[in-house]
């Protein structure tokens, strides 16, 4: 069981390296935002696997917290790319 979890951790770490390559190399800002979002998801997977590995349930709130923060960050970045500013005073103009 431990070998299985460590194999999954290594695979996710390799995919995080590939996503990091896309963050560094990505030609447009949209590529970097998508890669950062996927990095957040991979980080969630790592937290879940490590919480299985150290046999505790205290990390499960961090998973939901990371998902919320990744969602809000991605939405803020995409609104910045779309409109030029994140928080607008009046949306109807």
């Amino acid at each position: 069981m431990t070998y299985f979890i460590w194999t999954a951790i290594v695979i996710i770490a390799l995919s995080m390296i590939a996503l990091l390559f896309r963050v560094v190399k990505g030609p447009t800002p949209s590529d970097r935002v998508i890669a950062l979002d996927a990095l957040g998801i991979a980080l969630i997977c790592l937290v879940g696997l490590f919480s299985i590995l150290v046999d505790t349930s205290f990390f499960l709130e961090i998973i939901l917290l990371l998902a919320i923060l990744s969602f809000i960050g991605t939405i803020a970045f995409s609104k910045f790319i779309e409109k030029g500013d994140i928080i607008t005073r009046d949306d109807s103009r």
């Binding site: 709130e61 809000i72 928080i87």
Partner: protein
């Protein structure tokens, strides 16, 4: 340029409640599990930030007519009052009390005055974060 972001606004309306109830859960579970007033306040502020991003500042101000400076003041008064309450009954400063009560719906619960102090921390964190974001966010 009028953009039609109906998916974002509909998603924000639902996800706001999920994030807010998660924040309440973190706040009340802070005594026995990780969490507490600080993280709960930050998660609540991030839920309001999601509404501000999906809609605009005037809509959210109309939706939640809260002056966040007063929220900071109420939180500080609550924390200071909880901390100094024990001085009036002959105990040292910051002495907390707890006891077991039998509530009608919850059964046997332990109520602790540290929860009131934590509520003050929660209100201060929400107020400070929302004040910073609203002050920086309004550009004109």
């Amino acid at each position: 340029m009028k953009v039609n972001n109906v998916i974002l606004q509909f998603t924000a309306k639902i996800v706001f409640f999920i994030i807010f109830f998660f924040a309440v859960n973190i706040f009340f579970a802070g005594h026995y599990t990780p969490g507490g007033g600080f993280v709960g306040g930050l998660v609540t502020a991030s839920a309001i930030v999601l509404l501000i991003i999906a809609f605009d500042l005037n809509t959210v101000q109309k939706l939640l007519p809260i002056n966040y400076i007063f929220v900071v003041a109420v939180g500080l008064i609550l924390s200071l009052g909880t901390a100094s309450f024990s001085m009036f009954v002959g105990q040292p400063f910051f002495t907390h009390f707890f006891d077991y009560f039998y509530l009608p719906l919850f059964g046997k619960t332990s109520l602790h005055t540290a929860a009131l102090f934590d509520l003050g921390v929660y209100l201060v964190v929400v107020g400070v974060t929302m004040t910073i974001i609203q002050t920086i966010g309004e550009d004109e």
